[in-house]
C-alpha cells in the first residue's frame, strides 16, 4: 500500500506576518516550517509503514521554494520520498486552485491512501481534504482522531460533540487526521542527516498537465479586498488577590449585568 501525505509549509505561528500588495501572504520573507498539524499526518503514515500496513510513504507539498524545508522535516520523520510542486503561476491560488494542483499531483504519483492534517495553520480552512477527494472522485473521512488500515479498508474514529463514532472507509480514499492522533516524533540527528539524501522531486504545472490560467490569483473564485490588523483588545483592570478578589470580581460581573 502506498500512502501520499499532503503537508504544507506555513509561517511559524509566532512569526510576524506580512502581506504583499496583492494581499497574499509574503511566504518568502516570513520564517516558515512544516505545519504542526500536518506532522500528525506524517506520523500516522510512518506508523503504517512501521506496522507493515504501508510499503511506501510519499510526502507532497504545493508551495514556494522554501517549502522544501517542510519536506525535509517529513523525510526526517520517516517518509521515503517527497514531491514538491512549485510554479510561479500557482502563486495566489485560492483553495480551488490549490486543490486542483494537489489532486493532479497525487493522481500522477498514484496512491492507495491520501492522508492530510485537519487544517493548515495559516489558512485554517479545513477544506482541502474534501476538495482533493472531490476532484479525485474518492470517498473521504475527515477529522479522524485515530486510524488503522487492514486489507483495503481504513477504520477511523471521530470524537464528536455528542458521540464518538467509528467509520470504515473503502480505499482509495482521502483521510484527514486531528491533533488527537498520537504525538508526532522528533526526528533524531541521524534521521535528519539521512533525510538529506532522500529524493525530492520537483514538478511544474506543465508536468501535471495543468494550464497556468487554471490556477493562481487570476483564476481564483474569490478576491481579497483588504487585510488589516484586527483592532487590539485593551487590557482592563488587573488586581492582585489580597483576600477580596472574589468580592471585586463579583462587583465587576454585577456591573456588567452577569449576576442578574
Amino acid at each position: 500500500m502506498k500512502v501520499v501525505v499532503l503537508a504544507k509549509y506555513v509561517p511559524e505561528p509566532t512569526a510576524t506576518w506580512a502581506f504583499e500588495a496583492d494581499h497574499t501572504l509574503a511566504r518568502e520573507s516570513v520564517e516558515g516550517r512544516l505545519s504542526e498539524l500536518d506532522e500528525y499526518a506524517v506520523e500516522q503514515a510512518v506508523r503504517l509503514k512501521e506496522a507493515g500496513a504501508a510499503d511506501e510513504v510519499v510526502v507532497l507539498t504545493v508551495g514556494p521554494a522554501k517549502a522544501v524545508d517542510a519536506l525535509r522535516k517529513a523525510l526526517a520523520m520517516g517518509a521515503d520520498r517527497a514531491v514538491h510542486v512549485s510554479d510561479e503561476a500557482i502563486a495566489g491560488s485560492d483553495a480551488l486552485g490549490t486543490s486542483r494542483v494537489l489532486a493532479a499531483a497525487a493522481d500522477k504519483e498514484g496512491f492507495d491512501l491520501v492522508l492530510t492534517g485537519m487544517a493548515s495553520t495559516d489558512a485554517e480552512m479545513s477544506v482541502m481534504p474534501s476538495m482533493v477527494a472531490a476532484r479525485l472522485g474518492l470517498p473521504q473521512a475527515t477529522f479522524a482522531g485515530a486510524l488503522s488500515v487492514e486489507g483495503g479498508t481504513a477504520t477511523i474514529s471521530r470524537d464528536l460533540d455528542t458521540a464518538t463514532t467509528e467509520v470504515t472507509v473503502t480505499l482509495p480514499a482521502v483521510i484527514s487526521l486531528t491533533d488527537q492522533t498520537d504525538e508526532a516524533r522528533y526526528p533524531a540527528f541521524k534521521a535528519i542527516m539521512m533525510a538529506k539524501k532522500k529524493p525530492v522531486e520537483t514538478r511544474s504545472l506543465a508536468d501535471l498537465g495543468i494550464a497556468a490560467g487554471d490556477v493562481g490569483l487570476e483564476a481564483a473564485g474569490t478576491s481579497v479586498l483588504s487585510i488589516a490588523p484586527a483592532p487590539q483588545r485593551q487590557a482592563g483592570t488587573i488586581i492582585t488577590d489580597e483576600g477580596d478578589a472574589a468580592t471585586q470580581l463579583a462587583d465587576f460581573l454585577a456591573a456588567r449585568g452577569f449576576l442578574r
Binding site: 480551488l96 485537519m118 480552512m125 467509528e166 473564485g221 474569490t222 490588523p229 483592532p231 470580581l249 456588567r256
Partner: protein, 320 residues
C-alpha cells in the same frame, strides 16, 4: 429577488441558533430558503418561516446518517444546480466545512470559510473573516457564484422577519462514492445538562493551572453558579481533566460568548484564537505575566483554587 440557500440544523423540535443566525445574515443578500435533512416538525417549519425562510427543502433520506457528510453535500449541490442561488450559507463545523468544500468544487464556486459578516457590493457577495488566529481582519469578494460561505456561530444576533414558508420534499439517492465511508459504530456521550459550548452566553474554562481532574470541579461549580458552559485549554483536555469536546482554540471550538472566564490558562496564541472574540474576558492566573491578562477586561492575579470557590460562594450569596 435572488435566493440564498441556507443549510439549517435542528435539534429535535427546535432549530439550532447558528442556523437562525444564517437566515438573519442571508436576508441581507436576498430571500433565504432553508435546506434541512430529515422530516421537519411543525415547530421547525414555524421557526424557519419566523426567520424569513420562504421555501423549505426537506431531504428525508433516513439512511443518510450512515455515510458522513457526502450525501448532504450531494443534496446541496443538486439543489444549487437546480436553483442557481446567489449564495449557499453553511455553519462552520467539521461537517459544514466538508459540505462547503465539496459543493464549491462541484460548482467551481468561490468559497469563504469562517466568515463573521457579509454584505452585498455591486451585486457581489463580500465577506469578512478574522484570520491568522484573530490577528487580522480580511474582507473578500466572491467573484464566482454561487458564493459558498461558512459562518462562525455568534456572528450575528438572530432576528425574526416573519414570512410564510412552502415545504418541498427532495429525493436523495446516496452515490457509490458516498457509500465509501460508512459509520459502523456510534457511542453517545452522556449529556452534562449544561448549555452547549458554542451557543452559550457564558463560558467558564480551565487550563493546566487547575492541576487535576478533581480541581476541575471548581471550574464546574463556578460554571453552574453562572449558568455557564464549561470549556478547557488543550492541555487540560489532553490530560483528560475535561472531555475533548470542551476544548477551545485553533484545534477545538471557536466561541464568542458574552462572558468568558479563563482559570489557570496562560493564553497561548492557539487558545486565544478560539476565544478572543468574547465580549467580556475575565482571567484568574497566578502569573502576572500570563499573556491572557493582555486581553482580559478584568484580571485577578491569584490562586484559582481559592479565588474560584470564593467567587462561586459570593455569586450564590448575592443571588439568594
Amino acid at each position: 429577488m435572488s435566493e440564498v440557500l441556507v443549510l439549517v440544523e435542528t435539534s429535535g423540535s427546535t432549530v439550532r441558533i447558528p442556523s437562525l443566525e444564517l437566515l438573519t445574515l442571508a436576508r441581507r443578500l436576498g430571500e433565504p430558503s432553508a435546506v434541512l435533512f430529515g422530516s421537519p416538525e411543525d415547530s421547525v417549519v414555524a421557526a424557519l418561516a419566523e426567520h424569513g425562510a420562504t421555501t423549505l427543502y426537506a431531504v428525508p433520506a433516513p439512511e443518510m446518517e450512515e455515510f458522513l457528510s457526502l450525501p448532504k453535500a450531494e443534496a446541496v449541490t443538486d439543489l444549487a444546480r437546480r436553483l442557481s442561488p446567489t449564495a449557499v450559507f453553511i455553519t462552520s463545523s467539521p461537517e459544514g466545512k466538508d459540505i462547503a468544500a465539496r459543493v464549491a468544487v462541484a460548482l467551481d464556486s468561490g468559497i469563504i470559510t469562517d466568515a463573521v459578516d457579509v454584505t452585498s457590493e455591486d451585486g457581489d457577495v463580500v465577506a469578512t473573516q478574522s484570520i491568522v488566529a484573530g490577528r487580522f481582519v480580511a474582507t473578500t469578494r466572491v467573484v464566482r457564484s454561487p458564493a459558498v460561505l461558512t459562518f462562525r456561530p455568534n456572528s450575528v444576533e438572530p432576528s425574526p422577519a416573519p414570512s410564510s414558508a412552502t415545504l418541498e420534499t427532495v429525493d436523495l439517492s446516496v452515490s457509490e462514492v458516498a457509500r465509501g465511508a460508512r459509520v459502523v459504530a456510534t457511542t453517545p456521550k452522556e449529556s452534562t445538562g449544561r448549555p452547549d459550548l458554542t451557543d452559550a452566553a457564558v463560558v467558564v474554562a480551565g487550563g493546566r493551572g487547575v492541576g487535576s481532574a478533581e480541581g476541575f470541579a471548581k471550574v464546574e461549580s463556578l460554571a453552574d453558579a453562572l449558568g455557564a458552559a464549561v470549556g478547557a485549554s488543550r492541555t487540560a483536555t489532553d490530560v483528560g481533566w475535561a472531555p475533548h469536546e470542551s476544548q477551545i482554540g485553533q484545534t477545538g471550538k471557536t466561541i464568542a460568548p458574552a462572558l468568558y472566564v479563563a482559570a489557570g490558562i496562560s493564553g497561548a496564541i492557539q487558545h486565544r484564537a478560539g476565544m478572543q472574540s468574547s465580549k467580556t474576558i475575565v482571567a484568574v492566573n497566578k502569573d502576572p505575566k500570563a499573556p491572557i491578562f493582555g486581553i482580559a477586561d478584568f484580571g485577578v492575579v491569584g490562586d484559582l483554587h481559592t479565588v474560584l470557590p470564593a467567587l462561586t460562594e459570593e455569586i450564590v450569596r448575592r443571588r439568594t
